[in-house]
Symmetry: C2
Amino acid sequence: MDHNSVTDAERIAKATQTRFGEAISAPPGVPGTNELRRMLEHSSHRQWNTQPIDPALLRLLFACALSAPSKSDLQQADIIHVADRAKIKAIADHIPDMPWINNAPVFLVFCGNNRRIRQIGEWRGKPFVNEHLDHFMNAAVDAGIVLANFIRAAEAAGLGTVPISAVRNHPRETSNVLGLPDAVFPVAGLCVGYPLEAGHITARLPLDVTVHTDRFDESKLRENIDAYDQRRHKLFPLRKQRHPKLYPDVPFYGWSEDKARHYSVPERADFGAFIREKKFSLK
Amino acid sequence: MDHNSVTDAERIAKATQTRFGEAISAPPGVPGTNELRRMLEHSSHRQWNTQPIDPALLRLLFACALSAPSKSDLQQADIIHVADRAKIKAIADHIPDMPWINNAPVFLVFCGNNRRIRQIGEWRGKPFVNEHLDHFMNAAVDAGIVLANFIRAAEAAGLGTVPISAVRNHPRETSNVLGLPDAVFPVAGLCVGYPLEAGHITARLPLDVTVHTDRFDESKLRENIDAYDQRRHKLFPLRKQRHPKLYPDVPFYGWSEDKARHYSVPERADFGAFIREKKFSLK
């Protein structure tokens, strides 16, 4: 089927069916269906063609990303554009299972920045008394929001991306390469380029699991996850069983088995120590 | 000037000038300029007309939001749709300076959820060994990303929004009203409705402050912030000086003075204790 001949409405119904196992229609007359359709068809990309990204476009995408809402207008997210290939390599060398980092035409690191507000307090002669968990979380969430907006802007402009939270696997090394001072910390990297091929839609938990009305509800969670494992497996089976030295192969290997194995081994156990070194008490 | 007669390119140049003090052009031939323009023109809304939101549209927006990337595909963000007006009031009563919460046609709370992965580990017979800061942050950031995507989807469909991080001012009360169990925590609320009037573009720090190449650079930060205070004041002066009992009125009251005063008084100092009660060690 030629994609251009299919209306946004039809593609929205198809994308929601694949993503959530539930065909959702855009009500008639709703504007912006082209954008909604693109969000629903979102996919990550790890291979790019050789077309370079116009620096003027990149600057526009930074502007789009940083137009996102910011907690109390504090503007605690920064973007590091890692243009120097040697610096990209220095970061990527610590993440050998993700060769797409080195191959990405553009590589960015989105950071939380609690530093500016501390400096501003000094310059304006005010004490800074908010060095605690909420403040740290605000900067991390601000960075996530700016990252999400960047991804939307990039996809609108025909680019593909993949976020790299693994820049936190070796946070001190990432921080040193980018010269991040106290109270500035990496949240995620992002590979950006023109995609080599169309992506595929990853199946997600049904909305009955992740959207609640009035009260958090997990009454049918286990059945829903079992059904999701099955639905997802039919669309896109996981071919490799994780941590084979720890766990015997199982006949049916679904998402929940994979994630349970994933988090049965410590990941970034020293990130808290790194953040404390960056002068956060996390009280 | 009739907005409909102005091209996206012209509106992009104008919006970036207002937002960042720098007119940025979309390079010729870039697709998606309509969406990029809408991101650049983003504004918050706190007043809505009486038009109700079609429940079918809301479900589609949830689907768009939850199509966002998720750290390691763990899907640690949930949305609570607070439909019961009494529950909205119970939350809003703790935030008396934000009457728009009670008036919003739709009110949502975006939550971080580290609970499912713990349950999945139990059900699949695997230990859970990742109860530390990185894991907490992943769920918070996932929720921020889903929130950002929801805002983009809502604006595409003609709606206006304003995020409410103040649901964390009294996190235990918010959590109790929504029945949030251990390892599930509120990140931000969101008011949603059809806007009463056009919003205005908030000026942001120049990209020279928030976007860095290769290395974090704050060499001209102080001058840049002084200039930003002035530029912003000309566009949209702050009329009320914060904490007048603590600080004397100053002749020029800019963004940095306001933010320095804001964070000179403790805000959500007990959020860390709340999160620890929710069974996070934050190691």
